[in-house]
Symmetry: C2
Subunit: 459 residues, 2 copies
């Protein structure tokens, strides 16, 4: 069995904590086992371990998410989506990867699941049984169906053939997407289940579908032609066209946690971060900033202060957020990178167009930032803590607290931390990153060889 | 007539905008004449001008307030309190200043008024009439009494002798401080007025009181012995012991604006700064930060985001703030200085005790920061915008965008802006400012002479 974890999402609904580089599943706000907050990804990764499934798992995500995934759960088998295109292209890509670089065979069973759901441990036991359900039923697809707890019209419903649940699975009759509440109640009475985006099939089944529609079945070709696949969901392109589908019932907790209202219910503390709440009821405060938040006399509210912005919302209103924050989307002000973290302290746009950005950069021991040069930007680094070394054109220089490094435009540069290293960076110039040249995957030894090879500074 | 404006206050009740260096009267949030927000000080200074009183005015305040007062209303006649000690010592100091350096005579009339009240223009016409009231009545003291609008127990009440209001003033019988509401209603029925802290007397009257109690009457001596004067109010030490007092009635608006609830009523806009309010009722948002604030579904709330912190409060609760924020008082994160502004971007305390502070500094054209050296702190300045010159030990160096200046501990330094100049400063070291040496009042020419005199760097 191969397990593909789909990591999608942009997460406007959880602004200001979520942003382009930090989707919902990466927010460290969920109550963890040892009392320290964890992200949904970290929680799920630990649950996969407990269920004995971790060694079968591949994470499928965009390049932009690779650094934060590595920072949160380590270097895991990673399938990189060349672009964000919806679940059908992502799953198709993952299957060609499994059949190619991962060496899976056509009759190997694949289970695909989203990484951004909040579930019980029992969910993973249900996942583990899916290959048996597929085998026993002889169906093309086996799904996981969540036992509904309310006739909501927010989800898709899986209608089942009645009276066959003794085996632990049922044949699927049809799907109904987001029915009105009255219809949802009828569906639930007839045994329908919520569709939670878990799909189980044999690898050969999907490769056959790809071949039949003339899509690539080789990984390299799939990567190249990825942009030609339709931006459609796997439900739409595959599930709704399948001839035989079974569903296995899951009775435990399953939550999207896609709004501050829902997410706050899973937080361990009513107040996280610096500050204080006074005379508040049913109110959650999350403060990621270095300045205190004081909340007084609030009811049913969520207050979130993060580098990207500040949200104060009535809980019931929090689902309306995604329509509001589009106007404020901008540069992510906090990023977890594979080598450490970056906090943007200040951004100013000067009248002549020059952008001045001040960032606090933390580099973990033994890590280095990517080797790069900027065509239109200079940088000044003031080392505030820790020891390390800098690669600057053809030189390798040791640096420590109090040292200042000036990086001119067109200079190749990188910095490596020997001990945990912090610096303040003042950038001046153009922020057109597409003009920059970054050699992302070089090790520090390779960077030193480049320096030794005598690259010359261009000022 | 000499007018003494008392500028006191710490303003915990208006946290996070008010702080040690920015008391209530300096917050630029009041609707101004041209639609731009002004501070209470700026509003009052303009009202004094309109009433023809500005040329008689002296501002009495602590040294810490001098820079922001200069920034907001220019270089005004300034009486510097050596320490903060309450209104009796402040008024005593001001009177010795008037009699000494300001050259006033004993029979000149002095009017003392607080600078942090929100009043109508009519208030200043009432102030202008006070010397006539003092003269006509022959009383020792003439007060301004505000016609009460509600039987509140928040203020002091001035009881008057009945049936004499035809002349525009009445004899004062007694004072009652913060009576219960029922008693306040009785007092109002009998014609009592609110005490608003405006005192009118002849200079010689107060100098006589000082002499009688053995306190200094000379300005220089008063400054030296200021710390020996009791930390008591002028009401307690003088008014309540006076033999003959009259009060002039003022019918217009008079507000303390000492809570966010009260202050928000005088704001022109429901939302100031970056961000948006959605579906909010009777809610005011003030955002001084560079990141957006989104408020959704709030009622009767105030949201204030400022460099010192973030407040979200139910309006009715806002008066409880002063009991809460003591724990969060710290370094002011935003300061208006006579030469520009300072924003603290980041503060970190390293395990070894070293403090790292990142500040964005703006210096106005032609202005310079004070000439100073730090014994245990180094600084790195990255000039991000503008042109100027730096004094560093015995050198004067021109600087412009992109230049980096390193200031080691014990180096004398200052910087002057030729055009509006911005820099990012990274400080490392001890923040024990009492060890630093600052020559605050040197002009740039004097600083250049010091440099020319050949001071040597000490590293």
């Amino acid at each position: 069995m191969k397990l593909v974890l789909l990591s999608g999402g942009s997460g406007k609904r959880l602004w200001p904590m979520s942003n382009e580089s930090r989707s919902k599943q990466f927010l460290r706000v969920i109550a963890g086992a040892d009392g320290r907050p964890v992200s949904m990804l970290q929680r799920m990764w630990q649950q996969l371990d407990a269920a004995g499934l971790q060694q079968d798992a591949y994470v499928c995500a965009s390049k932009a998410q690779w650094e934060i995934i590595s920072a949160q759960i380590g270097e895991v088998p990673f399938i990189e989506e060349p672009a964000r295109r919806d679940t059908f292209p992502a799953i198709a890509l993952a299957c060609t990867y499994l059949a190619g670089p991962a060496g899976a065979r056509p009759d190997d069973v694949v289970v695909v699941m989203p990484v951004d759901h909040f579930v019980d441990d029992a969910y993973f036991h249900a996942i583990r049984r899916l290959p048996d359900v597929l085998e026993a039923s002889g169906a093309e697809l086996a799904l996981l169906g969540v036992a509904p707890t309310e006739p909501t019209s927010k989800f898709g419903y899986i209608r089942v053939r009645p009276g066959e649940s003794a085996r632990g699975w049922q044949w699927v009759d049809a799907f109904e997407e987001k029915p009105p509440a009255a219809r949802a109640a009828e569906l639930i009475r007839d045994g329908a289940l919520w569709n939670c985006g878990v799909f189980c099939f044999r690898l050969g089944y999907l490769l056959g579908i790809l071949a039949a529609r003339g899509a690539p079945t080789q990984y390299a070709q799939m990567r190249e032609e990825f942009h030609t696949l339709p931006k459609k969901s796997f439900d739409y392109e595959v599930v709704e066209k399948a001839e035989s589908i079974v569903v296995s019932r899951y009775e435990g907790a399953w939550q999207d946690l896609g709004t501050w209202n829902a997410l706050s219910e899973q937080m361990e503390h009513h107040f996280a971060g610096l500050g204080q709440a006074v005379a508040c009821e049913n109110t959650h405060v999350v403060n990621e900033l270095g300045i205190p938040v004081v909340a007084m006399g609030l009811r049913d509210a969520v207050v979130v202060a993060a580098p990207d912005g500040i949200l104060v919302t009535d809980k019931a209103m929090s689902s309306a957020l995604k329509d509001v924050v589009g106007a404020f989307e901008g540069r992510p002000m906090y990023e977890e990178r594979r080598w450490g973290t970056v906090r943007v302290l200040d951004v100013q746009k000067l009248p002549d167009g020059t952008e001045v950005v001040v960032r606090a950069v933390e580099i973990l021991p033994g890590q280095n930032i990517s080797y790069q040069k900027h065509l239109q930007r200079s940088e000044v680094w003031t080392i505030t803590e820790g020891e390390g070394e800098v690669a600057l054109d053809d030189r390798i220089l040791p640096v420590g607290p109090g040292d200042v490094v000036r990086v001119y435009a067109e200079q190749w540069h990188a910095i490596r931390a020997r001990t945990r290293l912090q610096l303040i960076e003042v950038q001046r110039g153009s922020a057109l990153v597409e003009e920059d040249i970054v050699r992302r995957y070089l090790t520090w030894d390779e960077i030193k060889q480049h320096c030794g090879a005598g690259l010359r500074p261009h000022r």
